[in-house]
């Protein structure tokens, strides 16, 4: 990197750590949510959404 390795790799390293950390935290949160509210079954057997069966109200 022509003597700029610390700055260039530092920048990409910080980005990797922060974005990777966000993804890991999100996966952890998803597991925590699954314990209090299990994944809802909102799909029909043929894979189409049963959106017609749920409320259209905001």
């Amino acid at each position: 990197m022509g003597g700029y390795g610390f700055y260039v790799w530092g920048s990409y390293g910080v980005t990797l750590v922060l974005l990777g950390g966000e993804v890991l935290m999100l996966l952890k949160r998803r597991r925590a949510v699954a314990r209090i509210a299990p994944e809802p079954k909102l799909q029909t057997p043929n894979g189409k959404f049963e959106t017609a069966m749920v409320s259209d109200k905001l």
Partner: protein, 245 residues
């Protein structure tokens, strides 16, 4: 001409948005990974060395997209928070909450990578320049929004308080963008505008591909997070309770 129309209002209901968001996540995840690989390859192996800055200029391939994402996501967060507040649309408020963390992370990345670029380019990590100071204020606005929402137990009250802060803070976005024109700053002007590009095509391509990658990444993580928020907040709601049973 087709007479079929999509009823977009339908997807403002968390019950309808939840499954469609789940379907979109794998697509955005795959596109994110592909765009990051292509963008980094072009940025490190195709784009030439800059004749003035040497290799250190490669920092801008991640710095510029991160800075733009910080601003875009703030505007998006404020718009969703405003919609949630004005129309009492709870999905809008949930989206604002979901966007805030990702926006704060991108703003932090832009500040850190900007400092790491500034040291070899200007000789200092930080100066109280208008662009840098206004970006730091953006970071504080994100932290304020997240902290304010976390400090209020009632989620609907937290949404309203957050919306006020987000909308007031919106004034900072044009200040960031035009700061390099309004004040005599150390920070360089716009890298590209609608009329001109101040970069070689391969350099510009790397930056735009990584910009697209950051967008796809943001959409993917925001969708995952908003689905978590929907399940946390709506777990007592009949539609979710019935769907789980």
């Amino acid at each position: 001409m087709s007479t079929r129309r999509i009823n977009w209002y339908k997807y403002a209901a968390p019950a309808n948005f939840y499954p469609i968001a789940g379907k979109m996540i794998p697509f955005f995840t795959v596109v994110t990974v592909l765009l990051f690989i292509i963008g980094l390859y072009v940025g490190f192996f195709v784009a030439p060395t800059d004749f003035q800055q040497g290799e250190s200029y490669r920092i801008i391939f991640i710095h510029v997209p991160a800075a733009w994402m910080g601003m875009f996501l703030y505007v998006l967060m404020a718009v969703y928070a405003g919609l949630g507040w004005a129309f009492n649309a709870r999905l809008g408020s949930m989206m604002a909450t979901a966007i805030s963390t990702t926006g704060a992370i991108f703003t932090f990345i832009s500040l850190v990578t900007g400092s790491l670029w500034g040291r070899p380019a200007w000789g200092v990590y930080w100066v109280w320049d208008a662009r840098m100071t206004s970006t730091l204020i953006l970071m504080f606005l994100y932290i304020g929004f997240i902290s304010l929402q976390a400090s209020i137990d009632d989620s609907r009250r937290a949404d309203r308080a957050g919306a006020v802060l987000a909308l007031v803070g919106l004034i900072n976005v044009p200040i960031i963008y035009f700061s390099v024109q309004w004040w005599n700053t150390l920070h360089q002007g716009a890298t590209f505008t609608a009329r001109s590009f101040k970069m070689a095509p391969s350099m510009l391509s790397a930056m735009l591909i990584l910009m697209a990658a950051c967008w796809m990444y943001s959409i993917a993580v925001v969708l995952v997070r908003v689905r978590c928020i929907i399940r946390e907040r709506e777990r007592e709601a009949p539609w979710l309770a019935e769907a789980v049973a």
